[in-house]
């Protein structure tokens, strides 16, 4: 019921959502989230580096923790790496549970932890040159909610 995917290839968000929902047994709610490369400020490309091996382990640990806290029927975490263009889908999460509150909370939890506990790093390519995205203190602070 936990599906973790780390890949360079694009994914079809609509198809993934439909497939995920169709595979759930006993769920009354499915919540999905998709992260998209913003093209603001003249961004030309977003490069995503990750730590093969640890990435999958960290995402699995975060999904396991979500499944421990809420009664979920399914969890999907899919994250791309490599060079992405503005408008491209970077990642998605999907959660399913009998009541919607659990699915919403679990998706929120997954996103908060994924941002600062899974080994991904973003580098922005702009006309003035490339720069690594700095982590925000608010991302770390968000974990205290849980």
């Amino acid at each position: 019921m936990i599906d973790i995917r780390v890949q360079a290839e694009p994914f079809d968000y609509g198809q993934e959502c439909a497939d995920f929902a169709a595979a759930q047994d006993g769920a009354g709610a499915v919540v999905t989230f998709c992260g998209i490369v913003r093209g603001d400020g003249g961004l030309e490309a977003m490069e995503i580096e990750h730590y093969p091996g640890m990435t999958e382990r960290a995402l699995t640990a975060i999904a396991d923790e979500a499944a421990r806290r809420w009664a979920l029927t399914g969890v999907l975490v899919l994250h791309r790496h490599g060079t992405l263009s503005p408008g491209a889908h970077i990642m998605m999460v999907a959660t399913a549970a009998p009541p919607r509150a659990s699915a919403f909370s679990a998706a929120d939890f997954l996103m908060d932890y994924l941002k600062s506990r899974a080994p991904f790093w973003k580098k922005e390519h702009r006309p003035e040159g490339p720069s690594w995205v700095a982590a925000k203190a608010s991302d770390e602070d968000a974990l205290t909610r849980w």
Binding site: G35, Y51, G53, M54, R57, A58, S116, P119, F120
Partner: protein, 83 residues
């Protein structure tokens, strides 16, 4: 002991290598960082501020006072920015 050291993101760029193998008797991550800083100016600059770094021991996030006994793969990187 022999350790594989991995670097990611701007740390990899500043050090000029994604990985290196080191022989060390350092008891902790912090002691290993001291040894790595002494290698050359690139290591010294990249590893100068521990508050800007995160470390994983055998692919698990740890603190800098974590022991190295039994470890094989130590990775240094900036705070993560996924999602």
């Amino acid at each position: 002991m022999t350790l594989e050291i991995l670097y990611f993101a701007w740390l990899r760029e500043r050090i000029g290598a994604a990985r290196e193998t080191v022989e060390t008797d350092a008891p902790t991550v912090a002691a290993l960082v001291e040894e790595l800083r002494a290698r050359d100016p690139h290591h010294a600059a990249a590893l100068s501020d521990l508050s800007a770094l995160r470390v994983a021991v055998d692919q698990e996030l740890r603190d800098f006072d974590a022991p190295l006994a039994g470890a094989r793969e130590i990775s240094f990187f900036p705070p993560m920015t996924g999602g």
